[in-house]
Subunit: 339 residues, 2 copies
């Protein structure tokens, strides 16, 4: 039926061309909203006169009063031909935004388009204090800015010692799938992040889950911890959890409460041997064992053991991103989250 | 032809429902990218050990070296049935992001969906240091945070003196079109902004225009000044300019160079009498007169004089936003930018 629809769409799409020979994306709706956050009160500040645009007309601004803080941003795409039985939420990692899942740095389609094309109602978000969520100077400590070369080794594009500021002297892991020519485009996606805002981020995610779930949540890196925390807070809302290289698992003391939610934990290539990632992976594997022993449903997948090689920490941007997304989608279909 | 297509799409869209009874949105492609910016070098900082996630494995971070700064974010939606003859770029105002044009605070469809549905290849962006563009601590001065009540009067939802922290004591202009019950949702869209970054913002916009234009650019408020500056820098690329309540016009000394680009300047209700907006409007009207006397094509429209009443500064969020967008679209069709 779907093929018939697409055939007809192509046949009568007068004057239009499909980009890259792909099927059109047909949405019954798309939109965005902010969720969560609270109002705080600031007092005792002097009234200012602000010139917002050089040469423009000054405005009087009273900085006292209420401020909106700690909300988050969500954008959603609802395919016309829906196959997922509940929404799929894609949560990004630290120092990044929902852009993680959009067009890949090399220009190819990312996981957002992949999952929409598979018929999932897909929700992308920017966590509290990241991207379109906005930020305020009310968080504790200083924000961290990502040095240009830092992710090259920390995200396992190349092994420790492989980064070089000279482009032609950088090296990668053998068979690395990250599109290194697009590394600069990737780094343009980076945003500052605080180290003290986990509670505020989780509070907003809980509000999001209360608003749009039951659902499946896919988390990455920093949001691994958020995914498990929100699952523990709302086990009846988060029906499935896919954790892509989570930097932390859940609370071993709360595994019994989440045992009805299937969990998939994925690791890319070279995680086992990397000085830092081997510890992170071991933490995840250990947590999975505790969850399993409590009757939980958890699969830990090292991609190389499935014959999928060369993946970095940013596997949704790697050249073979569709292969990894396909594995995730199949896991969800096998658990009847989708047709 | 389009109606036939949509009829068929509805007829065979098995198991799916159109939200709010509207036609599906059919895209030949959608995606995003970052553009502009540069690399800077930081030296002399001590190496840090960072715990990104409480309880996680520490990472060594050398804060010295290069940093990516001053890029901007762009998201695009390309309708299958294209009618606009060139892309339409929507640029947001100060302290906001591209979210300005997405779903309205009251949940209705915004100008992004409106223009996609009219067949425009539509590009939404977050300017340098706003939203998904990211930001760094390399800008001069302090960022400005928008007090919760400030836009109520400054954006002409209510007249001077009408804001009250108590919800039930706020007043609006008579026949105000802003959905005041959704004011808090609107304020969740606010992001910090610096007052010293115009040059960096314009530089990135010029790179965007070089990448995706010839085009029509629609600007709002702060981006009014950016629209005229980019038009002056690239008169052959910006083929049409729609300025929605620009806080500043172009350079009166450069009008001859942009006289081939039609310009529409729009003002909402109560702008003429407002203590600050009357000055802003007079600046725009004065600039338009200079442009016209040099042979330029410029229309200044006060919406109330077209029988469109009650519009605030955020007319793309007002209840009658489609009426205003329709006026813009008709102006563009009349100038043969679209079928």
């Amino acid at each position: 039926m779907r093929h018939l629809f697409l055939f007809i769409a192509f046949s009568i799409g007068v004057g239009s061309t499909a980009a890259q020979g792909q099927d059109p994306i047909v949405l019954r709706q798309m939109g965005s909203f902010h969720v969560g956050g609270r109002l705080i009160e600031i007092t005792g500040q002097p009234i200012k006169e602000v010139v917002f645009t050089p040469g423009g007309v000054p405005a009087r601004m009273d900085p006292n009063g209420k401020y909106q803080v700690e909300q988050m941003y969500v954008q959603y795409f609802l395919p016309q031909h829906r196959k997922g039985k509940m929404p799929l939420l894609l949560w990004h990692g630290g120092g990044l935004t929902g852009v993680t899942y959009e067009t890949k740095p090399d220009g190819g389609e990312g996981w957002l388009n992949f999952f929409i094309r598979q018929g999932w109602d897909t929700y992308i978000s920017d966590a509290v204090e990241r991207g379109r969520a906005g930020w305020t100077n009310t968080f504790k400590g200083d924000p961290v800015f990502l040095p240009f070369g830092d992710p090259w080794e920390r995200f396992r594009i190349g092994p420790p010692g492989s980064w070089n500021n000279e482009k032609d002297k950088r090296t990668t892991y053998p068979s690395a799938q990250f599109p290194t020519a697009a590394y600069e485009q990737f780094m343009k996606q980076a945003v500052p992040r605080w180290l003290t805002t986990d509670d505020q981020i989780v509070a907003a995610y809980v509000e999001l889950v209360d608003k749009v779930c039951p659902c499946v949540v896919l988390v990455h890196s920093q949001s691994g911890a958020f995914g498990f925390k929100v699952l523990e807070a709302r086990p009846e809302k988060v029906r499935g959890l896919v954790a892509v290289e989570p930097t932390l698992g859940g609370d071993p003391n709360k595994v019994a409460s989440i045992k009805n939610t299937p969990v998939l934990i994925l690791y890319g290539d070279n995680a086992k041997d990397h000085p830092r990632w081997s510890k992170i992976r071991q933490g995840g594997v250990g947590y999975a064992a505790v969850l399993k022993s409590a009757g939980g449903h958890v699969n830990v997948v090292d991609l190389p053991e499935r014959g999928i090689n060369g993946n970095s920490h940013m596997m949704m941007m790697d050249r073979n991103s569709d292969v990894v997304a396909g594995l995730v989608h199949k896991w969800l279909v096998d658990r009847e989250f989708s047709e």
